[in-house]
Symmetry: D2
Subunit: 92 residues, 4 copies
Amino acid sequence: MSHGYDKDRYLARIKRIEGQARGVHRMVSEDAYCIDILTQISALTSALESVALGLLEDHLRHCVVNAARAGGEEAEAKIAEANAAIARLVKS
Amino acid sequence: MSHGYDKDRYLARIKRIEGQARGVHRMVSEDAYCIDILTQISALTSALESVALGLLEDHLRHCVVNAARAGGEEAEAKIAEANAAIARLVKS
Amino acid sequence: MSHGYDKDRYLARIKRIEGQARGVHRMVSEDAYCIDILTQISALTSALESVALGLLEDHLRHCVVNAARAGGEEAEAKIAEANAAIARLVKS
Amino acid sequence: MSHGYDKDRYLARIKRIEGQARGVHRMVSEDAYCIDILTQISALTSALESVALGLLEDHLRHCVVNAARAGGEEAEAKIAEANAAIARLVKS
């Protein structure tokens, strides 16, 4: 847990996401109806988004808070980096 | 290709998405840096979005166009269904 | 209503959106708390998204269905155009 | 600038957003083509998103960093609040 996030909490959720991705593959290979596949992809995207928001919260709570306390350029760099990651999430 | 989408085109892309999901799992299990994991999740979300947009285009081009030609309630139902799928994509 | 959407239904909603945009301007000019401004921006974005999904549904129901019935290149062009608009919405 | 964001920088951008909202209203009232209206709405949504990301960055850089330095419950509360705002942005 060197970066402040609870590994086990995420590993189980990402395992389920892997299963969802395999499910989408199977649906396409079995000629499932497009709309049903799109529904599964939306569920998968929401699950990923939720993992990303959790990791981001842990990151702010640990790395960013620690950097803020340390101060100086390190704090500045961590904020800029977190912001770039947030922008990618908002746009993806 | 019973629903009008090109299976092989999608199966290869979804296989890569499965690989990306496994990569995210491995990163978390190896204590990767949060921001690097978030970058991978954003890439995975974009890849999924792109598959979804492709499937949706194929769906409009085939199922919706055919239903429009058949007319009546079937056309109406297909449009409502496509719209609900688009709304889920926009919001996810 | 030459393009198949119900004007009055949208004009009232867009008027409210204009009011929300003025509200965000006022909040910033009065030094409102960042998080409160962000909450208003999220509400404004959701209202815009909802107008866009309504317009898109009307567009599919009228222009795209008519083009599908007419057939040929016109149908093809309308689908490609609708798809590009959907992709912009999903990515914005 | 009591909350750490540069007011003038944002006021000008939000004024432009108000103008874009009025432009969308005018397009609908003049029966513009749906797809052209959707293009304007996507541009407006992107402009709003960009203002929101700027405000969020300023907020992290000032309020959250200061709270982190103060420590204790205040830091915890600010992180939770920022995270809820980020989640709303990602989902809207």
